[in-house]
Symmetry: C2
Subunit: 115 residues, 2 copies
DNA sequence: TTATTATGCATAAGAAAATTATGTATATAT
DNA sequence: ATATATACATAATTTTCTTATGCATAATAA
């Protein structure tokens, strides 16, 4: 599947929300979780995911913990305190974004509910 | 206002939907319409808008018509037949995108309505 | 009257965030 | 043996934007 350009800019919000929900996850796990949740409609590529994780870590929003499971490396990520606060902001931005898009694209629908 | 990264990739969809709704519009008019509709929360910059309009035109999705009003130039854009068809696709993609984001971020909420 | 704001277009340089294409390595299924 | 799944990583390129300019006319404020 080719992801729509609309997903551009949404990756870090998705990552942070999943970590908020699940405590800790590793990269490959995130890609599988997203694929399953969206019924295969959104596929996060490694070329997007790993640089994004590294950047969030560099910004102090994520912590890493390396583990070896079945002789294979895993890097578990979790939100830092700072990351937890930032997650709240990102989710608010997402809600505002969705409200605005719905207003622009569907001006007759009542634009509330959902959150 | 600084637009959230979430808006990346949504500009052409916004433009095409506004043109579908209003028949024809010129660039500056689009920026004002979006600003007003979103209560100032989304500001389309010229550096993003004009290249986007030129690209949509080059792709055959928009037609241009130059006019002079009050001694000032305006370039009115409208959807071509091809553009009208593509608008339907873009709006479907937007709906799918919003559904997927809501499912990812708010897994407990019933993800329908709104469209 | 002069400066600022609003209207209206345009493009160039740079940044951000992705895609696409590789690369390494282990485990499992055919 | 070969392909698929798991698990990480990065480099080159593309897409899409921001920021900074530039030009020009009209209206408004100082």
């Amino acid at each position: 599947m080719k992801n729509s350009p609309l997903y551009k800019g949404s990756l870090t919000t998705i990552i942070m929300k999943l970590l908020e929900e699940n405590g800790r996850m590793y990269g490959y796990e995130i890609t599988q979780k997203v694929k399953k949740t969206t019924n295969g409609e959104l596929n996060i590529t490694e070329g997007a995911l790993y640089p994004a994780l590294h950047k969030l870590e560099a910004e102090g929003l994520l912590d890493v913990e390396v583990a070896k499971v079945d002789n294979r490396m895993r890097k578990y990520y979790k939100l830092t305190e700072s990351g937890k606060k930032e997650t709240v902001n990102r989710l608010e931005e997402l809600e505002e974004f969705i409200r605005n898009m719905q207003t622009l694209v569907n001006p007759k629908t009542n634009p509330d509910l959902q959150f």
